[in-house]
């Protein structure tokens, strides 16, 4: 990205933060909190998710056969199934259906797929009036704006702005003020349109191959009316929506509302086997007619999906049920919404997969960097899609396709296996290992240099490092150098290999020393291997080849230790998460499993030692010290943050924990000029939680490097890793 493009992007994001940020944040955070509450009521949430996942895996695997089976069922019911290759093909078919019934007005219920097709424009070109009946979609149609969320399209609009819009456009007799006023006004307006319409167009959340039944998940009742009040029903759905049987709907019906807006179930789940059996309603002649007069067309849309099915990395996208959990649980999305974090049609984390598959890499590239890989969406996704991985893969593909510009600035300094055209900013951050080694070797000169306003200006201009951020301070003595002189522990109970990640080795050396002291005090011999770069940095920039090289080096260095009975302990949670999650994609299965099973987050390990009889008195006594703890996003996804809380609690600390999804820094993300504002906006929520009466005088601790850097920028008081509290 050029300096100018960065500036434009930064301005666009700042504008959205100012104009829409508050409304988007209030809504998405509300949905997200609702999700946590609603899924907690389920007896077996995890089993339901696994069932849903299995159904989707099987359905996509057997898709061509299921489509054949579905076609038979639909035709037997008296309907037609049309499989459209692309948007133009689908639109042509729908236009023909409307023309065949001499239709001049169409009412629609909410459908993302028709937005993808731009069906409204196609119909309007034939002078057909198209009216969206979902209230949110209708507001956007009146305002001529794009959706900012896949489920609640108008969340960026406040009640006041909708009232203003209606007053301006419709000049109503009554004052429109409350949400109820606005809803009733819209209901009346739309009721007229619905009874006048010739054709009803709906989407479909699921279609079952066994019976030709489609499920529509809605709340307002507009989809029900759209189908009932019109004689001709056209349902448009992506071909991936087909599942085998009616019974297979059960886990999805239970999960979709809970995962999305945090409702146990939405008001209506229509299960239609069209043409439906209700009498026809002729409002003009005031007559009813037989259900046999109803017509039904199911349009299944390929538009790139069948190719995605063949793509090992994008295939998972097709399991997506568009619940929006990955938008709502995303700290960045919560701030900027779908107008920044979205492509032509889809928004949120999974939009990268959809847009890459449907529109192409260039569209996905425009917003894909807003995924920081924090992984908070992974457990939220009802079908277990590894959304961060899809983002990483697409980023890698984008990197490989982009033009070169300022390569000379970082080339040579940071040799890697990436394509020559790689964005220099990505190359700089992705090769943090080289910088860190150089940084320590030349500290403190490197630190003075990086503080000089001249070099900061250059870095901002050419590689987009925001000059408002403090850069990491490299320590002259690395952790490995310090540890080399430690006297050995006599008769150790266990042997540990402490992974000296780049930050712990070069920058936050104190937390590494504390980890060594704590482990030794508990009777463990600690050694530091000769490997520091985990591959997290290149992975986050989508530099998969480099990440794979690092992963291989780490496995070469650590796996023999595990095989020799030593335990691997990791201080940096993002690296621990890497060993547990992403290495599965970067290493062969055996070595991945050996390393994943043999490695522990530092507090997880301390907890285990204490549980197995190690003497807690060897560690510092908390004596009621009041502590505010921010765990790390990836650590929470793996559920290991509880060990830190438990150990601190055991040792007598008084701990409160933040509950924001992410600190907003996310490795290099917060350093990038174009994302500085989002990063700080996300961080504000954390800063607020740690500045209440209850927390403002507490000692701040955080597990992740990025979180510590962010907290340093956000709060006046210092922060440290919790291991520094407990080490003797």
């Amino acid at each position: 990205m050029t300096g100018n493009a960065r500036t434009t992007k930064a301005e666009h994001i700042r504008h959205l933060l100012e104009t829409e940020g508050d409304a988007v944040a209030a809504n998405t955070q509300g949905f997200n909190d609702g999700r946590y509450e609603s899924v907690a009521d389920l007896e077996d949430y995890e089993a339901l998710k696994e069932e849903a996942r299995a159904i989707k895996e099987d359905a996509i695997e057997r898709l061509p056969d299921l489509v054949d089976e579905l076609r038979e069922a639909v035709e037997e019911n008296g309907g037609t199934l049309y499989l459209a290759d692309d948007a133009a093909d689908a639109n042509r078919y729908v236009r023909d259906v409307v023309a065949d019934v001499d239709g001049d007005s169409v009412v629609k219920s909410k459908s993302m797929t028709t937005e993808e097709l731009e069906l409204n424009d196609a119909l309007e070109a034939d002078d057909v009036e198209v009216v969206e009946t979902d209230l949110g979609e209708w507001v956007l149609q009146v305002a001529d704006e794009a959706p900012s969320h896949i489920v609640a399209p108008a969340i960026h609009k406040s009640r006041e702005s909708i009232a203003e819009l209606f007053t301006e456009v419709f000049d109503p007799d009554e004052d429109l003020e409350t949400a109820a006023d606005l809803t009733m006004f819209a209901r009346r307006k739309l009721a007229e349109k619905i009874v006048d319409a010739d054709v009803g167009v709906t989407g479909a959340n699921f279609v079952t191959a066994d019976s030709g039944t489609m499920a529509l998940v809605t709340s307002e009742g507009n989809a029900r009316k759209t189908v009932t009040a019109t004689d001709t029903h056209v349902a448009v759905a992506g071909v991936e929506k087909v599942i085998p049987s009616v019974e297979d709907l059960a886990p999805f019906v239970e999960l979709i509302g809970r995962s999305g807006t945090g409702q146990d179930i939405t008001s209506y789940v229509s299960l239609l086997t069209p043409p439906v059996g209700s009498p026809t309603l002729d409002f003009d002649a005031d007559e009813t007619g037989p259900a046999a007069d109803r017509e039904f067309h199911l349009v299944l849309v390929d538009n790139g999906r069948m190719d995605m099915r063949e793509d090992d990395d994008l295939r998972e996208t097709l399991y997506c049920i568009r619940c929006s959990a990955c938008s709502n649980s995303c700290a960045n999305f919560q701030q900027v919404g779908g107008h920044a974090f979205g492509g032509e049609t889809y928004s949120g984390g999974i939009a990268t997969g959809w847009e890459a598959g449907i529109e192409g890499l260039d569209v996905a590239a425009e917003f894909n960097d807003l995924c920081t890989g924090c992984s908070r969406c992974v457990n939220a996704c009802p079908v277990g899609i590894d959304i961060p991985w899809i983002n990483t893969v697409v980023r890698d593909r984008v990197n490989r396709g982009e033009d070169a510009e300022f390569d000379w600035l970082v080339d040579g300094l940071v040799p890697d296996a990436e394509p020559a055209g790689l964005d220099p900013q990505k190359r700089l951050f992705g090769n943090f290992s080289t910088l860190a080694k150089l940084g320590s070797a030349t500290a403190p000169v490197s630190n003075w240099l990086s503080d000089l306003s001249v070099s900061r200006g250059l870095m901002e201009r050419f590689v987009g490092v925001d000059r408002r951020r403090d850069l990491p301070t490299f320590q002259r003595e690395t952790l490995r150098e310090w540890a080399a002189d430690r006297p050995p522990v006599r008769n150790p109970d266990r042997q540990v290999v402490l992974f000296p990640d780049l930050y712990t080795n070069h920058v936050q050396v104190e937390r590494g020393k504390a980890a060594v002291r704590a482990l030794e005090a508990l009777g463990v011999a600690v050694r530091l291997p000769d490997v520091t770069a985990s591959g997290r940095a290149p992975l986050s920039q989508g530099m998969l080849a480099t990440a794979r090289e690092h992963a291989t080096d780490v496995a070469d260095a650590l796996v023999p230790h595990v095989e020799a009975g030593r335990d691997v302990v990791v201080v940096e949670p993002s690296d621990y998460a890497l060993f547990q999650r992403e290495y599965e994609r970067l290493l062969d299965e055996d070595r991945y499993e050996t390393l994943a099973d043999g490695s522990y987050e530092v507090f997880e390990y301390v907890y285990g030692l204490l549980a197995n009889g190690a003497d807690a008195d060897a560690l510092a006594d908390g004596s009621g010290e009041r502590v505010a703890y921010h765990s790390h996003c990836q650590q929470r996804t793996l559920g290991v943050e509880t060990y830190t809380e438990a150990v601190l609690d055991d040792l007598g600390f008084d701990v409160v924990t933040s509950d924001v999804e992410c600190c907003g820094m996310a490795g290099s993300f917060g350093y990038k000029r174009e994302y500085y504002d989002v990063s700080m906006a996300v961080g504000e929520d954390l800063a607020t939680q740690f500045s209440t009466d209850e927390t403002v005088d507490r000692t701040v601790v955080a597990s992740g490097t990025s979180c510590l850097e962010q907290l340093d920028d956000l709060l006046a008081r210092p922060s440290k890793h919790p291991i520094e509290l407990v080490a003797p």
Binding site: L135, R224, V246, G277
Partner: protein, 162 residues
């Protein structure tokens, strides 16, 4: 049944428990005029006189209450499963602002999977349709939660205990 009535209340659905013979009176109690409805299936009792059946489209739009049967109740969600029928359960339960759903206590199933097992057979054999309706229609699109968007604002369940 306790779970069902508890969940009905969670979703703001009021309810009456009644014997088949008292169904007409129970409906009368919760109905405002003009009221439209469908004849209830055997075992669910009778409609009161005041409820018109076979409404015209204009009557459909003007009605204040719609009375229909429900094929099933789902205890876990307090849902009424409304079948799509030739006598118009779907429009009659949808257009008026108040919906009265009549369900037999014997047709209340524990969970969603039970309901879909029942419906699966019906859909495959008879290409039937149904709506799983839970509480009144609602929207949050206008800046706050509002009950009664395109569908009913209020729902009352009449649970018939044979």
């Amino acid at each position: 049944m306790d779970r069902f009535t508890e969940r009905l209340a969670d979703f703001d659905v009021s309810y009456t428990l009644t014997a088949p013979d008292d169904v007409a009176a129970a409906i009368e109690d919760v109905t405002t005029q003009p009221a439209i409805g469908v004849e209830l299936p055997d075992g669910l009792g009778d409609l009161p006189e005041s409820v018109e059946t076979d409404p015209s489209p204009a009557e459909l739009r003007e009605a204040s209450t719609g009375v229909t049967e429900a094929r099933l109740g789902i205890a876990d969600y307090g849902s009424l499963v409304l079948p799509t029928t030739a006598d118009g359960v779907e429009p009659i339960s949808l257009f008026p602002e108040h919906h009265v759903g009549v369900v037999s206590s014997e047709d209340v199933v524990p969970g969603m999977a039970d309901a879909l097992a029942d419906l699966g057979e019906c859909f495959r054999d008879a290409s039937g349709s149904a709506v799983v309706a839970t509480g009144p229609s609602a929207t949050a699109d206008m800046g706050a939660l509002v009950k009664g968007a395109h569908g009913p604002k209020t729902v009352h369940a009449i649970i018939v205990e044979p």
